[in-house]
């Protein structure tokens, strides 16, 4: 039974989309049942596979139509679930599930919901199919399915300003990425005469030549487009700002992860080229650029969702950088951060959605003081913000800490000054991330409340519960990093390096040995030179906070004057409970998003102006960037002779 789960978990979603297309158009109840049934079934099947794959180290492979390889050649279409694929599968199905649960209340104001859920299920199925696929051509097919569903969903609220424009940009540049994947696939097929990932991996090291180097460049750029890495970041910003928040969750938490997955598969498994200096340099360089440029772009935004969109790419930059270090600790840290990014960024997008749902705007300059009206959303947002800013003890800190360790250790071990600078940029990026979330905290949830938001209400449980699930996961994965490491990261990291095992699971025992690859499970050593024990730290903090609480209670009893008592004594209004204006009330207003960080912006003005001009919003420019970048990467790949 278990070996059918990979195909079933994908089929359930596609079949749900099909059924929903037929029955879900008008009938809300049928739609709800179909959607819930398919996302839950798919989720359960993915979770069920963790037992054998993560704990016992098996690889589940499945041949469609039972067309198994004959004479050492893979003819059929295969699915292969190893620990890396399943790791991403788990991330994806969790995000799809949460996004689906959230959609029911969140999308209640929209019409044409039949189309929405059909596209949503197609997107989920496409993404899950991509990470479980064992065949390069099917990866391309799934890339196309997910890109087109995502484009359509971006334009779903097409009454909104910019929705069609964003979808158009995404369509054009996304197609360049998809085409790039297709061209890479064709070139590889030309050289290896197979499309099966395992077989390509077994052949490639022996036929390495100029054509495979070009194919590498095409595939790398193709997957980088899917992860919106630099220079594709403007697309994500436009798409996220207009897409429904439940779809932003999928675009940011899931689509970008397929890019990361593709790059990991490409460099570690297909080409096994991660030990080459030029590849390392390329991957780390792209990752670092994405990380830094996008965080500075995020600082300059004044739309909640655009800001989150730039942070998505900045965080994916961390993942790519860590993966590019080519150490076991780096891969583990990167995977950990990929998971955490899905959790906290989905949470943040959902809180942004909650604000949008209740106020109909995400403009940071207009909002303010919502914490009094939406207390639960505020707490959930603060958890997400603390996680992404990497404040201990939340999950963002645990994974960033691992990435820092990996970066500095790689720098020290290879005596590479460049990596040391990369490590410093990583830490700087973290501070800038904190700064931009301080901006959101102040200008959306705290600060003064403009009059027009006085009647805003908290969102219902249909939205609070999905957000609560994500917030709980953020805390759990942050407080128990050793458990995450043992059950998820160590198997996945080991699978990244166990190429021979991957080949054998697909092509039959002894195949990897035939091309002189070991099929042993590679044991990974995640040892590191630092210490971080969140539970002990929490215990310390807990004791001290308890002390502070006691002090508050003891001392406050005598000193506190209730406002109501004061009102009785002095009449209706007591000035001392008003904010302090030094007597000039009229001069002051809410310090909104655009007013923050004046000194920083003034000093960085030339850089920010340059970035502002570069992100022109014209699709022609973005296409030019894409093509130029593709050309540069191809040139680099050929010159370095991968």
């Amino acid at each position: 039974m278990m070996q059918h789960f990979p195909i079933l978990s994908i089929m359930v979603l596609f079949f749900g989309a099909f059924l929903n297309g037929i029955f879900g158009g008008k009938n809300a109840k049928a739609r709800k049942i179909i959607v819930l049934a398919s996302i839950f079934l798919s989720f359960l099947m993915v979770v069920a596979m963790t037992g054998p794959v993560m704990l016992e180290g098996q690889i589940i492979s499945y041949w469609l139509g039972n067309w198994e390889p004959a004479m050492g050649f893979a003819f059929g279409i295969g699915l292969e679930v190893d620990a890396v694929g399943l790791f991403f599968g788990l991330i994806i199905s969790t995000a799809v599930l949460v996004s689906g649960l959230y959609s029911f209340e969140y999308m209640s104001h929209d019409d044409a919901l039949g189309y929405y859920y059909t596209l949503y299920l197609m997107l989920g199925g496409g993404v899950l199919g991509l990470v479980f696929s064992g065949c390069l051509f099917n990866i391309f097919v799934m890339v196309e399915i997910m890109t087109f569903s995502a484009v359509a969903l971006t334009a779903f609220r097409n009454e909104k300003y910019g929705a069609l424009e964003a979808a158009f940009k995404y369509l054009v540049v996304g197609s360049i990425g998809s085409t790039s994947v297709l061209v890479g696939t064709i070139l590889l097929y030309n050289q290896t005469h197979t499309l099966n990932l395992a077989q390509i991996a077994s052949i490639l090291p022996s036929v390495s030549n100029g054509v495979t180097a070009v194919a590498f460049g095409f595939l790398f750029v193709g997957f980088a487009t899917k992860a919106f890495l630099f220079p594709f970041q403007p697309l994500a910003a436009d798409a996220h700002a207009v897409a429904p928040s439940s779809i932003s969750v999928l675009i940011s938490g899931v689509l970008t992860k397929t890019g990361v997955y593709g790059i990991i598969r490409l460099v570690y498994v297909l080409y096994q080229s991660m030990n080459l200096g030029p590849v390392k340099t390329l991957v780390v360089f792209i990752g670092t650029l994405s990380m830094f440029i996008c965080v500075t772009m995020a600082l300059a935004q004044h739309d909640f969702k655009r800001l989150l969109a730039f942070h998505s790419i900045s965080q994916v930059g961390y993942v790519i950088t860590a993966v590019g270090l080519s150490t076991a600790l780096g891969v583990a840290g990167g995977l950990y951060h990929a998971m955490n990014h899905t959790l906290f960024k989905s949470l943040l997008f959902l809180t942004a959605g909650a604000v949008l749902h209740q106020t109909d705007t995400t403009n940071l300059d207009e909002l303010g003081g919502l914490s009094k009206r939406m207390p639960k959303t505020t707490v959930l947002f603060l958890i997400g913000a603390a996680s992404i800013s990497g404040l201990p003890p939340f999950n963002g800190f645990a994974s960033k800490w691992m990435i820092y360790q990996a970066t500095f250790e790689a720098a020290a071990a290879q005596n590479n000054f460049g990596f040391a600078l990369v490590g410093i940029i990583e830490m700087l990026t973290s501070v800038l991330t904190l700064a931009s979330f301080i901006k959101v905290t102040q200008s959306v949830f705290f600060g003064q409340m403009p009059k027009k938001w006085e009647n805003v209400k908290e969102v219902g449980n249909g939205m609070i519960i999905p957000m609560g699930i994500l917030a709980a996961l953020c805390v759990i994965t942050g407080v128990a990093p050793s458990a995450v490491e043992k059950y998820l990261l160590a198997p996945a990291t080991s699978a990244v390096y166990s190429v021979g095992k991957y080949i054998n699971a697909m092509m039959g025992e002894g195949f990897a040995e035939g091309v002189s690859l070991s099929s042993e499970t590679v044991a990974v050593d995640l040892g590191r030179s630092g210490y971080w024990n969140p539970l002990a730290w929490l215990a310390l903090l807990g004791i001290l906070l308890f002390g502070a609480f006691v002090a508050f209670v003891l001392l406050r009893k005598e000193a506190k004057t209730k406002e109501s008592e004061a009102a009785e004594m002095f009449g209706s209004v007591d000035e001392k409970f008003e904010p302090f204006f030094s007597g000039e009330r009229a001069e002051f207003s809410q310090v909104g998003g655009s007013d923050m960080f004046w000194g920083f912006k003034k000093v960085m003005r030339p850089y920010l102006d340059f970035m502002h001009d570069a992100h022109s919003g014209v699709v022609n420019d973005y296409v030019r960037w894409a093509v130029e970048c593709l050309a540069l990467v191809l040139l680099y790949c050929v010159l370095c002779g991968l």
Binding site: S371, K372, T378, S389, G390, L391, P392, W401, Y404, Q405, F408, E409, A411, A412, A413, N415, F417, A420, G423, I424, M427, V431, L434, A435, I438, K439, T441, Q442, F446, G447, Q448, M449, S529, Y531, W532, N533, A536, W537, L540, I543, L544, F552, A559, K560, T561, E563, F577, E578, P579, F580, F581, S582, V591, M596, F597, W598, G599, F600, K602, V603
Partner: protein, 325 residues
């Protein structure tokens, strides 16, 4: 029996030494000395040595006013979280190569991040007070954090690399205890030529991180009425003041760990007194003198200063250490 002893030992470390009680006393003493020295340099008599303690006692008894528009929970819990995380940090700093109160819990990167939590607490507290002055203040506070965090990171990496080259086979260490060990064996970091720029950079970073005078853009009472603290009164304000003093002690103490680590005797009491003396010297150099001499910088001047001069100093050191000097 054994477990009870361990728990008692932990509680002693947390509550008495080197945690709560000791850190508070040392911090208040340091603040008192600082004020006295500033006064003497400005040809004033100055307050008594225990004036900070008297101020705090007075604040404990004052009424707590919560602005009507404020978010009460965030407004009241922010100061406590900030102070608590500072006190936790004080437990993680080693006093000598052999004595760390709580080891195996955190490393240099964790300490770096723990030190940002008080700043975040101040910012969240200020944001929740819904005051426009606090809004301006928190924006400036964050600019200050962005300004000093980059050079601070580089200084820490430099020290870790320098110690790790000799002490750790991977060429990098993140343990403060190892940094102390290195200095015990090879002499204090400050005596190494390549580390002097980093030490200078650290001396510039401390006043900004503490929010001391020439860099106190976030509290600037003459321009924005104490900025981040504008709405605070009574006990929460006392917590903030206390956090300010504790931060002063912890950062000077961190400087001693990073750069003045070699001079230890192994006797805890003697080490303690030595550490306090060093702390006073460092405080005098990087907090008292600028306070008495300089006027407050403008916001963008602070940012520019840290991202050019201080960053440059730190980078020079990192490069020298990387070249093996």
């Amino acid at each position: 029996m054994n477990i009870v002893l361990i728990i008692l030992k932990w509680l002693f470390h947390i509550l008495v030494f080197p945690g709560f009680l000791f850190t508070l006393c040392a911090a208040l003493l340091l603040a008192g000395i600082d004020r006295k020295l500033v006064a003497r340099m400005q040809n004033r008599v100055g307050p008594p040595l225990l004036q900070p303690a008297y101020d705090l006692l007075k604040l404990f008894g004052k009424e707590i006013i919560i602005p009507r528009q404020a978010n009460k929970k965030a407004f009241l819990s922010a100061p406590a979280v900030g102070l608590a995380s500072l006190l936790v940090t004080s437990l993680l700093l080693p006093f000598s190569a052999s004595f760390v109160a709580v080891s195996g819990v955190a490393d240099v990167i964790v300490v770096l991040y723990l030190l940002t939590i008080p700043a975040v607490a101040i910012i969240v507290g200020a944001a929740s007070s819904a005051s426009p002055f606090a809004g301006v203040g928190l924006s400036r506070e964050m600019v200050a954090v962005m300004a000093y965090e980059l050079p601070l990171t580089i200084v820490l990496v430099t020290v870790c690399r320098k110690a790790g080259l000799m002490m750790d086979e991977s060429g990098m260490t993140f343990s403060l205890a190892t940094v102390m060990q290195y200095q015990a064996e090879h002499g204090a970091m400050i005596t190494k030529l390549s580390m002097i720029p980093a030490a200078l950079a650290m001396l510039f970073i401390i006043p900004c991180e503490v929010g001391a005078h020439p860099f106190d853009i976030a509290e600037a009472e003459t321009e924005i009425c104490e900025g981040t603290l504008a709405e605070y009164s009574g006990l929460p304000l006392a917590f903030y003041e206390l956090a300010h003093y504790v931060k002063m002690f912890i950062l000077t103490s961190l400087f001693c760990v990073l750069f003045l680590g070699g001079f230890t005797t192994g006797v805890v009491v003697v080490d303690l007194i030595l550490r306090l003396i060093f702390c006073v010297v460092v405080t005098f150099l990087c907090i008292t003198v600028p306070h008495a001499v300089c006027a407050r910088f403008k916001v963008e001047q602070v940012f520019k200063f840290y991202w050019t001069w201080v960053l440059g100093l730190a980078l020079v050191s990192l490069l020298l250490v990387w070249l093996g000097l």
